[in-house]
Amino acid sequence: MAAPDPGSNRIAGALEDIGRGLGQMLDAIGSGAVLFGQAAYWVVMGRRRKQPVRLESVVREMVESGIGAIPIVSVLCFTIGLMLALQGIDALKQFGAQQQVTFGVALSVTREFAPLITGIVVAGRSGSALAARIGTMTISNEVDALRVMGISPVRFLVTPSLVAMLIMVPCLALLGDVVALLGAGLYISADLGITMSAYYDQVMRAVTVSDLMQGLGKAALFGGLTALVGVVNGARVQGGAEGVGRVTTSAVVQSIAVIILTDMVFTFVSTR
């Protein structure tokens, strides 16, 4: 009997790996969708079933994922606004159109950069923390303890985080808008010699409510996706502390990847 060709074995192995990876990805998407459905069920039906989603838990999560992220989101968005102004003026100077920089900066900040930077920061802070928390609780039987006490882990652990992210990430993105535009404005007014009040008028003329809502809508989507990716990864923990580290890393990487891909699709659809 002829020996199997090593080349074809390698191809078969690679195809098998791709298939397995694809299967795992579809499984994770399915789990995320089910989780979102269950969380929505508890938000709507919790009170009727005398198991409400606790407001205090939602507020605690809002403080944790929202208020705690204000400094870093502010610093990063201010810097991004400043950089956009720098690059914008430098590029437009070649055409003698540097006076138009505000238009470009205002649109790119509100539609793109503020929600994206905020989403990535929240994925790194809160998505990882959520994955680590759920992972640790899973391996120490705390999730099982909830189940046997008749407490739905989705209602008790997942829903408050999801609701908090859906509310706080757009709020942070709005803050990011303001801070980034402030950063850009300070540079533009100094470089082009226009007053901050004139800059403010230019921003108001450039940005419509629809631009703002596009950015904030994306931010809400990023928040929801970050929470779901964190929980799905945390619930899949295997092993001990090493497993928790692994799911935490994979939650951050997947959240950022999902945020950027979703951003691309969202931008493509909304600009058609």
Binding site: T136, M137, E142, R147, V148, M149, G150, I151, S152
Partner: protein, 276 residues
């Protein structure tokens, strides 16, 4: 009622748990291979066996954390396998479970941990819940520790706090996973006393999973011995002690069962199955 009469009442009592022909798998590996167990109202049933015998798997299936491959599990007259997730969640409130590692929530104080089932399932005011919490902590000799975090407790205290949380809603059935494991003999004996007190004072039906022989003989009304997914015997402490089955006696006399290997098989194992 005298102790003998109480014992007789238990032996004639209705079955609170009925497990029939339970078969379970983890992946391709069969863990429980057709297990039948009855637990009567008000008794302490100890499920005993060595490591890997399937006793923890048995417990996880009876409390509804895992789905069986086949067989029937009836608890308080309800078939566990026929319940959906929502029904299982509702039903779980009638049960109390004390996990091996305690499974206390590390972000909550001991008191908040114990009060959690009350907070989630009742509409009691805060003061009443706190009184009930302190009463249960008193039962497990942890009065005054309600403001500590779980990380500040010793192993025995964590287990006792887990007991307090498990009994705070006065469940009809209490499950305990390895209550004495890893504890010094004095603390282990105190936990045994606590289990006996819960049965006698609160008429609870208690299922204890353990591999600690001393503890099992001290607290059990009846013992089920599991080995490699099969039940070797179910009976009273005396019946188990006097059982002729060699594997039961191996377990009771702590005899390690050595696998007989010939020289070639031993060498193959050392080389990881590769060529000799």
């Amino acid at each position: 009622m005298s102790a003998v009469e109480t014992q007789e009442a238990r032996s004639e009592g209705e079955n609170v748990i009925e497990v029939r022909d339970l078969v379970t798998h983890y992946g391709d590996r069969m863990i429980l291979k057709g297990v039948d167990v009855d637990v009567r109202r008000g008794e302490i049933m100890v499920v005993m066996g060595g490591s890997g015998s399937g006793k923890s798997t048995f417990l996880r299936h009876v409390i509804g954390l895992e789905r069986a491959t086949s067989g029937s599990i009836r608890v308080l007259g309800r078939e566990i396998s026929e319940m959906n997730d929502v029904e299982t969640t509702e039903f779980s409130r009638k049960l109390g479970v004390a996990f091996q590692g305690g499974a206390l929530f590390s972000s909550m104080t001991v008191g908040e941990n114990v009060m959690l089932p009350l907070r989630e399932h009742t509409e009691l005011d805060r003061l009443t819940m706190e009184i009930m919490m302190r009463m249960k902590l008193e039962v497990v000799s942890l009065a005054g520790f309600e403001d500590l975090m779980p990380a500040e407790l010793s192993g025995g205290m964590i287990k006792r706090a887990a007991f307090a949380r498990a009994i705070v809603t006065d469940p009809q059935v209490l499950f305990c996973d390895e209550p004495s494991a890893g504890l010094d003999p004095v603390v282990a004996a105190a936990l045994d006393e606590l289990i006996l007190r819960l049965r006698d004072a609160m008429q609870m039906t208690i299922v204890v999973v353990t591999h600690e022989l001393d503890s099992a003989f001290r607290i059990a009304d009846r013992i089920t011995v599991l080995d490699q997914g099969h039940i070797l015997i179910t009976g009273t402490v005396d019946e188990v002690k006097n059982c002729d089955d060699e594997r039961v006696q191996d377990l009771l006399n702590r005899r390690f069962e050595e696998e007989e290997l010939n020289a070639d098989a031993y060498l193959r194992r050392l080389t990881g199955g590769g060529p000799l």
